[in-house]
Chain length 344, copies 2
Amino acid sequence: MSKYQSTVDIARALNLSPSTVSRALNDHYSISAKTKQRVLDYAREVGFQKNLYASRLNHRKTFTVGILMPEISSHTFSTITSGIKEVLEPEGYDLILMHSAEQYEKEVHLINYLTSIRADGIIYSPTKETNDYAHLETILKNKIPFVNIDRGLTDFRCHQILLNDKQGAYLATQHLFDMGCRSIAHLAGPKDASNARHRIEGYQSALNANGLPFDPALITHSDFRITNSNDAIRYLLERDPLPDGIFVVNDEMALGCMHLASEKGLDIPHQLAIIGFDDEVYSQYFRPSLSTVRSPVQEMGRRAARVCLQQIENYEAYPADTQLLTPQLIVRASSRRTTPKHYA
Amino acid sequence: MSKYQSTVDIARALNLSPSTVSRALNDHYSISAKTKQRVLDYAREVGFQKNLYASRLNHRKTFTVGILMPEISSHTFSTITSGIKEVLEPEGYDLILMHSAEQYEKEVHLINYLTSIRADGIIYSPTKETNDYAHLETILKNKIPFVNIDRGLTDFRCHQILLNDKQGAYLATQHLFDMGCRSIAHLAGPKDASNARHRIEGYQSALNANGLPFDPALITHSDFRITNSNDAIRYLLERDPLPDGIFVVNDEMALGCMHLASEKGLDIPHQLAIIGFDDEVYSQYFRPSLSTVRSPVQEMGRRAARVCLQQIENYEAYPADTQLLTPQLIVRASSRRTTPKHYA
DNA sequence: TGCAATTGTGCAAACGTATGCGTAAATAGC
DNA sequence: GCTATTTACGCATACGTTTGCACAATTGCA
């Protein structure tokens, strides 16, 4: 059975008091070099590890920040995390990653875990299921530094760092229009995901601005995963007449779209122009390379971390605020049908 | 300043003793329904969260398992994690993900963190820099359930779940030979990564088995990332005569390889056959679709979790042991030059 | 009405580490 | 050689929660 030694055990073994052992382990000035050496040697020999539960019982600050994400397999997640690390690790914070796997129940459990270990701050993104924020009330009541990212929260006041999804979708749709597309379909995300909704809004807004009618038959929903999207894609590809452009809610599904379109022998981009969203690492290497909308995800992580730090330093000084990041249109071969000047 | 209320605070407010409050919060049978309700209501009102540092001070078991990975952006990592969750969450364990970012120093720090919070088990993969295992001695000395995965540890006795990388590389190289390739290059991984080394061994072994000479000029190294591999890829593509097949150490770099080869106007697979390793999600959607070697990563996670559980239940009963998982050859368009019967 | 059984609550100790304070021993200063 | 200072350590307490035990209050039963 695993059993760590304690400072008391060490004290007994070396005929010292626990306080001396504790001070020796923490390199306290008042302990003689000789005693320190004795303690350190013995501690190493028995594989001593401080019990954090005891150690932190006295201390207000834990120097840990929790990151809770619904999804960990995408480029977006790992890059956000990387941005967060960039800011928080130099400040001495440990990062604890937790994964809610798009399940509300787990999210609640893990938020409780993070507050129970008295994380100094929490950076969070909700699951697709999340529409009750009762579990976040505790965080507000205790004034825990908290930042919501990537997926917006409606009717809950807190710091948020979001992408301007509507603008990104607008850019993508406008681009397809500029490339000559006049029947633009949208392969959308889940109806209950706020960023997917905003992308639909941007899509509609761009159609509207260009005098194109909004045809509900040209929009279909799936989740964000390529493996679950074949039916939705086929629905669009088998329409008659075929749309001449598709704005896809993310690159992963856009990939599936290109794949099935190729199988059908469609010429991309001339028969069908395709643009995705997210600029995954692989998107530029595709044939044809995939046009997309890039979100400054690393910057999103950095900002979230900074906002978290500010709250840690002075909670009251920073009232809840939402930052909207600006997306960038990336034009590649999957949509480049002509080359008007402004896209040169 | 954030300040949680304690059971003592609640007790004072409700004119109860801390023990009654504690029992009420834990739904202890000996507390009256009325008192429980009073406590629960008040606790909710003030946003009470149990202090885990105090709570776990008394208890041996924490029901947490730490996962420490050098890299979190790949499909491999997220799938392994998913396999681990599949086994451990139903058993009631919380999973704590930590990221060493290929830095030995961080690895040491985070291993210490995980032992300090008395994780019931640790599932781990070393960084590329790791060749000193002093920090793992503590784990052995305290008999902490521990499983190393994906990247082998040399000269350190512990439970390991690894892929048979040599066999996978052998399969890939043999396949290129079967497709008619007679000048097979290898775009390898970092020299100090054990799985990259094993893949080189498998490559050499297959050359040898087929009577092909090993030409050191046909092997070049890079790290595993596509963004850093252009020079290495160009080195191979600019050789004269051009190799007629390349076995690439992972799919990500194979993608870069296909991309640059296409830019040079090479016909894949007929002038140059390419096969990768890992079967990333996007590989099958490429054009040409990418041949690869698939590792049962989900199963790797499941097995690691099971081995971890066994140790938690009875450490002594399971002496250190290494399991080698069998890779699977996935033949797709990037290497399918002819179609001999056994690849039909 | 008296006594036993049951119910609900409080007391006190324990978990392991950190730290203010007290003090004995060693050293310095004259 | 005596006092003053410094050095090195121990004592006691605190952190917040849990839990064995004691006990008061209530109920049940004859």
